[in-house]
Symmetry: C2
Subunit: 207 residues, 2 copies
């Protein structure tokens, strides 16, 4: 059985929703960041990066959202969560997920994770001030160039959709005016209506 | 035919080496960052992110190093540049490439790309001062937990190897003492000895 280690409302939401959409048995274990559980010896033995998500599989541990999402899509091909028979279309999906991970999530992280990249309080404040601008730029690109509609990759729901969902969920707190992005807003509303998304949000809120 | 848009010594080196290792016909076009060619209308039409690498294919444009590397491995399966028949092993490779992209490359970028995430000169200086520490932490993880040896994923050369090569090439300028990392240093030396690597470095130096 698959076990997902997650923190509520972290990027692990994307993997959590994907597992729920798949519908195969899995366990979701909360990592309590407030108690710094991600730095405990037990967790570091699983994931020495001290981050979420971590996916424990019968073969071993996987980390990094884009890798976990592609793994889940490939492990349950009957769920059609990625265009597995089309190398180019699969690469397009991977490019989107890589952008979400290395540009959009990184921009967001400068709001609260400044100590990853600097040491001075003045730098943290400066980084935090810029987040509305950098995240708005990300959503301009997503709205105008990436989101094919109605789902991220077009007609089919894929693993990129739960990933965009959590970025959008962060966006208002990041100072992004979502009303400027009608296609993203429509995507967000349709994601919120999915039973799997409701289940995951309720579980994470109660954890 | 595939066309790679690259900037010398940028992360596009990973895709450039992979194309050269594959040995199929391709074109490598330099994007002159000194002249801000990445912000020209022609280039933005290809890649609105104004970054490299960009890979032009018969089907359309691909961006993002992890996506391009997996695409090349899947497009030329006979070259065995990824464990394509093993979903878990492929995910492990993708997790490594995602870490290189979203953590190691991002840490490196704080040396010279501070304006992406802040506005004040004092913040840029603070970020720059921290790069030796953050990049050393990345190489500790790579040396001790990720690099299986002799190649990144073990006995077989994969698309993760050219990606580690460019990160290691940046490392000394980032203030990392490579002598502390004998396994990474050995990998770097073996990469430098490969004909494809020599060809790419010579071409990029002459461009």
């Amino acid at each position: 059985m698959l076990t997902l280690y997650y923190s509520p409302n972290a990027c692990s939401v994307a993997s959590h929703i994907t597992l729920e959409e798949i519908g195969a048995p899995y366990e979701a274990k909360r990592v309590n960041f407030g108690a710094e559980q991600q730095k405990s010896p037990d967790y570091l033995a699983l994931n020495p990066k001290a981050r979420v998500p971590t996916l424990a599989t019968a073969r071993g541990i996987l980390t990094e959202t884009p890798a976990i999402l592609a793994f889940l899509a490939q492990s349950f091909p009957e769920k059609k969560l990625a265009p597995l028979d089309d190398v180019f279309a699969f690469a397009e999906l991977q490019a989107v997920n890589s952008y979400f991970c290395s540009t959009a999530h990184v921009a967001h992280a400068h709001k609260g994770r400044g100590p990853r990249w600097a040491d001075e309080e003045s730098s943290f404040a400066d980084m935090k001030r810029k987040v509305p601008q950098t995240m708005t730029a990300c959503f301009e690109l997503i709205e105008n160039k990436m989101l094919k509609g109605p789902w991220v990759m077009g007609e089919s729901f894929t693993v990129a959709d739960p990933y965009l969902f959590i970025l959008t969920r962060w966006a208002e707190g990041d100072g992004v005016e979502l009303s400027r992005f009608p296609r993203v807003s429509d995507h967000y509303a349709r994601m919120q209506a999915r039973p799997a998304v409701k289940t995951v949000l309720a579980r994470e809120a109660a954890a």
